[in-house]
Each structure stands twice: as C-alpha cells, then as structure tokens.
C-alpha cells in the first residue's frame, strides 16, 4: 500500500496535492484497493463550479459498491479529469497520478491544514482493516 508523503488525506480516503494555490484531488491507493475493480466514474460537478468542503464531488463505482467522493477542501473548480469517464480502471492502476479527479483553486488554504499527513492517514487505515 502506497501513502506518498507529499500529499494530505482525509479519513474518507480522498487525497490532495497542493501546488501554489491549486489543489489536485483524487482517491487513495487504500481506497481503490478496498473497492477492487473500478468500473465507473461519475462527476457531480463541472469546471467553474464553486464548491464547499464536504460537497459531493462524484461517485466511484466498483464491482462491489458505488461510493461517493467528497471535497476535502472548498474553492473553485479549474479542471475535471474527464478521461476517467472512459478509463475508470486508471483509478486502480495509478490513483495518485493519471487518476487525479479534480483540480481546485483553494478558497481557504487553512482547510488544508486540518487534513491528515501520510503517517496519520496510514494509521487511520490500519484501524479500519
């Protein structure tokens, strides 16, 4: 299981990568492993939308379950990775790379601070296994 240390996480298994004022959001290696084969990705939002922390980002469906993904931070959406709609399996093969889901211009950078670092997130997932 991979927990890159340059990312921040939530207990609902979203990760973000902050570069300047922009954050990239996806779901973690632990999450894709738990879901098993991902067959469908659907977004509830589009580029240009203003969203708040906790809003629904979309749904990831595997052969086992359909799980909602939430915004770990709020802001304005600047990019949506529509490639995942045609290639949902990327979430399994490259959750931190090609399977990024959304890029957002941070509304409140302080929201990032309240997220978990890699060690804390890894400990959280251990508690759930």
């Amino acid at each position: 299981m991979n927990f890159p240390t340059d990312l921040k996480y939530t207990t609902k298994d979203e990760w973000i990568r902050v570069e300047g004022n922009t954050a990239t959001i996806g779901i973690s290696d632990f999450a894709q492993d738990a879901l098993s084969d991902i067959v469908f990705v659907e977004y509830a939002v589009s580029e240009g939308d203003d969203v708040g922390k906790g809003d629904t980002l979309g749904t990831i469906e595997s052969v086992k379950a359909a799980s909602d993904v939430y915004f770990p931070v709020g802001g304005k959406i600047v990019a949506v990775n529509e490639d995942l709609l045609d290639a949902p399996e990327l979430v399994n093969t490259d959750p931190y790379g090609e399977a990024w889901m959304i890029k957002i211009e941070l509304g409140d950078p302080a929201e990032v601070e309240s997220m978990l670092d890699a060690a804390a997130y890894e400990a959280d997932t251990k508690g759930r296994e």
């Binding site: 509830a44 589009s46 749904t59 469906e61 595997s62 086992k64 359909a66 909602d68």
Partner: protein, 446 residues
C-alpha cells in the same frame, strides 16, 4: 376476527416507549379526528359480501360486448388466452423481483426477455426491468435527464400535446424541486418544431409523445437535433403498439424512450396495474432508473445465468443517493407484455398495428363524410383522431351509450374551448361493423 397485536403485545410496546395507554399515545392527534365515527356498513359474512359484490359486478359492461372507441392512453387490444395462462402460473405469480433475485432465474430470464423486446422496439441500448406506468416512467425520464445534466440544467420543455395526465405526474414529481416544467402555454395543435424556440442552455430535456396525445405522428428529427445542439436530451413517450409500424425512436436520435406498455397483453382493468417502459442509450445506462437484469455465464460450467446488474447504484444499496427511489418493477405486467410480444412476433405486431391504423383511417373518413362533423386531425395519425361535433361531446357520448356504443374521449376535459371535440381510438377490436354502427349512430344523434 384478525388481531395484528394482542393486548400483551400492545402493553409491552407502550411500556417500551413510555406511554401509559393508547389514548395517551394518540393525544397528539386533534380530538375531533382522533377516533372519528366511521359510517361503515355492518360486517358481512363471506356469502353476503359475495352477493353484494356480484350485484355491483353485474352493472359492469364487459368491454368486449360493446363497440368501444375510448383510448387516450389506455387501449383495448386483444389479449391472447395464453397470456393469462402463463401469467397465472405459481412460479411467476408475484409482482416483485425477489430480494435474493438470483435464486429466481425464471423471473430474471423473463425480465431480461422483456428488456430485449423493449430494446428491439425502441432502438435503444438498454431498458430497465419496468416501472409503474407510462406516466411515472415519463417523470423518471425527466429526472434522469436532470441527473445527466449534473443537475445544472433546471428546465424541461414538455410538449403541450403530451398526455395531460403525464404532464401532471411530471409536475408532481418536480413541484418541490428548483426545476421548471415549461411548454404548457404553447398551442397543442402546433407543429412540434415550434418547441425549438423554447430550448436553451438551461434545458435538460424536451419531452414529446409519439404518436402525440391526439394520435398525430410527427417527424422529430429537427427537434432532436436542436435539443442536442443545446446540450439537452430528447425524451420520447411512445405508444409501443405504434412502434410495430412506425420508425423507431432511435431514428430521431432519442436519448430516453418511455411509454405505457398496457397495449401489450394487459387488459384495461379500470386503469391498472399497467406497465411503465423506460429505455435509454448505452452512454446513459448508469443513469437509468430502477433495476436492470443482465445475462452472464458462470465461470465454472459456462452455463447461462441472469443477474441484477448495475445494482450497486440502486435504492436497496445506495438508499437516498440512488438515481431513483422507485425500485420495484411491474414484474407481472412486464411478463404479460413479454408473453404477448413473443406470441405475436415481429410480423404479428406489425399486422396488429396496421389493423389499428387502417380501421382508424376508415372510421375517420366515414365520420368526416357526415354532415355537421368535422375531422380536426389534419396530420398523419396512427389509431386516434379528433372530431368536432355539432353538440357538446358529453351529450354525444351519452346518446351513443344509450345506443350501446362507448364513444370517444372528451378532449374538453383537458383543453379549453374544445367542449365539442371527441377523440376516437380504433384498434383491431373495432371491426367494420362496429365502425359503421358508430357512424350511423353519430348521424342519428347529431
């Protein structure tokens, strides 16, 4: 007498929630309606109840005994005896897909075959396992279009020539939502291409009926194209019987097709249970409301099997986040349609549809030839047409009934200024003699 709970059960339940008595439990209900005095007849023995109901029953006129020209969404067609014989088999005789569905392979296979029929008729890629009726299926179709727009497009344009009950159902669905149902103010007699002017970027879908409420058949190619150019969807509400001879909705590039499946082997039965059909293109299959049955094979023996597919998105798993909260299908009615379609086959269905068409056109030409009656329908039509009568439609119908004929639908009930208009539906069960009887009766009553 049947008691759902014993006194001891009640005492235990009251104790558990801390109420002293039933009276105390219901104190919150205003006193004058708490224990209303119901004016009910005395209890009846089975024999008394049977006699009372039989007395009511004899007041009915079985549809088959009287020439009947009433349609407007529910149609009298011939139901082959085999439909009921198979339907009533104990193995099938339940309306539900079981909650452990895969154990009921026969039920799932029947649903899969039903879905296959719907796909063949509509030209869509995927059908659900059915809905309550055509009106709810239409409302679910609009809801799907709204969901497909990621809930960004806040408006549906509904053709004014859509069945008024369907519009009401759609209105009811969306009343609490921040979603606009448009098209009501448009002229129901206009060409559907006039809807194009109402389409804009905020339009989730355009809903048209095929044939429309008045029986007219239009080409929706231009409308579909305009809808797609604005990023909205074309929803078609169909009379599936008409699809036996008309172009499939896929040829107009429809995105969602819904309709009332009652014409396929389901009796009029006072208005229900009927059968909602709902189908869509492959790219929208995950937004399709309700259940879908898929065919697969087991990995060990490579045997064919049926499963509920895509059910991870369904209500019993996703609860309030499901694409629809209608989960159960009309399994038994879907089975009736499946048996019917399997029995008549592709050619048979075409023959039934053509008989309806030809009988209707004969009736229309005969009525148009009467003095004082005017054929208002001036478009291609399938098996229904509108006539302007010299008297209020209600009077005409009353007079027809006295002559043993069930007349047409009184359009003035739904549309202002059409009190003298009757819409006649003609099917394969209206032979020439019936039509001639109607025509001569109309001549007399006018």
């Amino acid at each position: 007498m049947f008691h759902p709970h014993t006194d001891t059960d009640r005492e235990k339940m009251l104790a558990a929630i801390g109420a002293k008595s039933l009276e105390e439990l219901f104190e919150i209900v205003p006193e004058d309606i708490r224990f209303p005095d119901l004016d009910l007849p005395k209890t009846h023995s089975e024999m008394e109840a049977y006699n009372a109901l039989y007395g009511l029953h004899t007041k009915n006129v079985p549809g088959i005994r009287m020439p009947n020209f009433l349609g407007a969404g529910a149609y009298r067609h011939y139901v082959p005896a085999a439909v009921d014989a198979i339907l009533r088999r104990g193995e099938f005789f339940t309306a539900y897909t079981p909650y452990q569905p895969e154990i009921s392979q026969g039920t799932l296979q029947a649903i899969f075959e039903y879905q296959s029929h719907v796909i063949n008729l509509t030209g869509m890629d995927a059908s659900n396992a059915s809905h309550y009726d055509g009106a709810t299926a239409a409302a679910e179709a609009v809801n799907m279009a709204y969901g497909i727009s990621r809930k960004k497009k806040k408006k549906a344009i509904i053709s004014p020539a859509l069945h008024p009950h369907y519009r009401e159902t759609i209105d009811t669905y969306f009343k609490p939502a921040d979603f606009d149902i448009g098209g009501e103010d448009l002229d129901p007699w206009s060409n559907p291409d006039t809807l194009i002017d109402s389409i804009d970027e905020d339009t989730a879908c355009v809903v048209v009926q095929y044939p429309d409420f008045f029986g007219r058949v239009f080409d929706y190619t231009a409308l579909g194209k305009a809808a797609h150019e604005a990023g909205s969807l074309l929803v078609m509400v169909v009379n599936p019987m008409a699809l036996g001879m008309l172009k499939a909705p896929s040829e107009f590039d429809a995105d969602i097709v819904c309709g009332e499946g009652q014409p396929f082997g389901i009796g009029l039965s006072y208005g229900g249970p009927y059968l909602g059909m709902l189908a869509t293109k492959k790219k929208h299959v995950r937004s399709l409301a309700g259940r879908i049955v898929g065919e697969t094979e087991d990995l060990v023996e490579r045997k064919r099997g049926y499963v509920l597919t895509l059910s991870a998105r369904e209500q019993h798993i996703r609860r309030e986040r499901a694409s629809s909260n209608i989960c159960s299908n009309q399994g038994l009615m879907a089975l009736a349609a499946t048996i019917y379609l399997t029995m008549v086959g592709k050619e048979g269905l075409r023959e039934v549809a053509e008989l309806c068409y030809q009988n209707a056109h004969y009736a229309a030409s005969q009525i148009a030839g009467l003095d004082n009656f005017e054929l208002v329908t001036d478009q291609t039509f399938f098996n229904e047409f509108v006539v302007k009568c010299p008297k209020p439609a209600e009077e005409i119908n009353k007079a027809l009934l006295e002559k043993g004929i069930i007349g047409g639908y009184e359009i003035g009930k739904d549309f202002d200024g059409m009190e003298n208009h009757l819409m006649f539906a003609v099917t394969e069960l209206n032979p020439k003699e019936d039509i001639d009887a109607l025509v001569s009766a109309l001549k007399e009553v006018a």
